[in-house]
Symmetry: C2
Subunit: 247 residues, 2 copies
């Protein structure tokens, strides 16, 4: 399939060097006619793998090809790598632990460890949670494992439903390296989450704890630093496991 090989060569060229090339340069480098090169680039633009600068006419890699790597990690691999660290986190924090990744524009819970006590709990594994109203979801949004949903549904009076507020909240997550959700999905409940990084540092999931707000936060709704530390340690450990697997 000659044309697919040619298209791949163009993408590799754009991935190297300065990242921006003119049609003539590409055609010359690959020894193709300009018309041929233009036809390939037009198709690559159409599928979003290439973008063209309006002013200079030069081409660069498009978002669609750059995002191919996003969340491509196997759910089962994420889960199997996480299990070792999820139980200790539940034990240390005394709260329920969930691991999530992005699927269908939501946070998919791939593993759930019950809070280590006798209370009745339901298994969330397999459920899809809203990104903007969960700690797991905010972490995934903050590191652009997903785009915010078109509509920000309000689950409680504390749910962030303004895009500006959400952007601000995500900035804080990026700054801190972890995120929270305080009575934004369920009244009386809070959660803390941190990013799980895979190959090359790309965020492929998140791990978090959740429980009664009075146990996770102080009286000014700030999460206890000790719990934040536990979550981050677990996230680092899972990330290290994932990185080691790919090494």
């Amino acid at each position: 399939m000659q044309s697919i090989e040619r298209a791949a060569a163009i993408l590799r060229m754009l991935a190297g060097g300065t990242g921006r090339l003119g049609l003539g340069e590409i055609a010359a480098s690959l020894d193709l006619a300009k018309g041929t090169t233009h036809g390939i680039l037009r198709t690559l633009r159409h599928v979003g793998f290439v973008e063209q600068d309006r002013v200079s006419g030069r081409y660069q890699l498009g978002a669609a090809v750059l995002h191919l790597g996003d969340s491509h990690l196997d759910v089962n691999e994420l889960r199997s790598r996480s299990i070792n660290w999820a139980d200790p986190l539940a034990a240390r924090s005394g709260e329920a632990v969930r691991i999530g990744t992005v699927r269908q524009g939501r946070a998919l819970v791939v593993h759930h460890v019950f809070r280590p006590d006798d209370t009745f709990q339901t298994l969330d594994t397999g459920t899809l949670l809203p990104l903007h109203a969960t700690a797991l979801g905010k972490v995934l949004l903050a590191y652009r494992a997903a785009e915010p949903p078109a509509e920000l549904e309000a689950f409680t009076r504390r749910t962030v439903v303004s895009r500006r507020e959400l952007a601000t909240a995500l900035d804080r997550v990026r700054t801190a390296g972890w995120g929270t959700e305080i009575e934004e999905l369920t009244l009386g409940e809070a959660a803390i989450a941190a990013p799980i990084r895979g190959y090359g540092g790309l965020v492929v999931g998140a791990i978090g704890i959740s429980g009664p707000v009075e146990r996770l936060c102080d009286t000014r709704y700030r999460p206890h630093p000790r719990l934040v530390g536990h979550v981050r340690d677990a996230a680092r450990a899972v990330s290290a496991d994932l990185g080691a697997a790919r090494h």
Copy 2:
């Protein structure tokens, strides 16, 4: 270019879902004949954009397409984003600051701030440094912005020239989140570097300081934590700038 559109559709499918799909599933989903689908997949395998599991026969995204995004960041953008933080880092640390990214299998210095004193110094901007024997380079290797060079050249008696030792060193960089080089490129000189992350947390560069080993390290060749902290703070700030620019 119908076949390029079809190849792109296959890549997007593999990027979604579980990440691993059989030929029949792909053919059925895209309403293509199995022979057609097979021809496209064969070509994508040939260019490295797709890999096939030997045992199950299933297909997944290949390293070549996942790496298209690596180091695609414009050098000028990295540089312009870094400048604001490089000067303060030089001031605070009292050492020379360099920012680097991967080019041609080496660490390209995209920005260099002189040590703030009266000593004679030469501008390194534009030079290519070895990955395995520099702090910048080790950070880039640790986060897989590059592959190790085929041959590990010895610059001093302290240069790491064993692949196993290098792998161990890179594990430590990942664990710590920063890296050092102590008399491995130049006798009497040491360096400390930390990763600069771009879109989605992907490592696109590194920022570091370098200077006389007796100023950067204690008598047991351990870097001063205060300097490590300064470098990491600067790396975070540059990363935040890059993230913000893409937001």
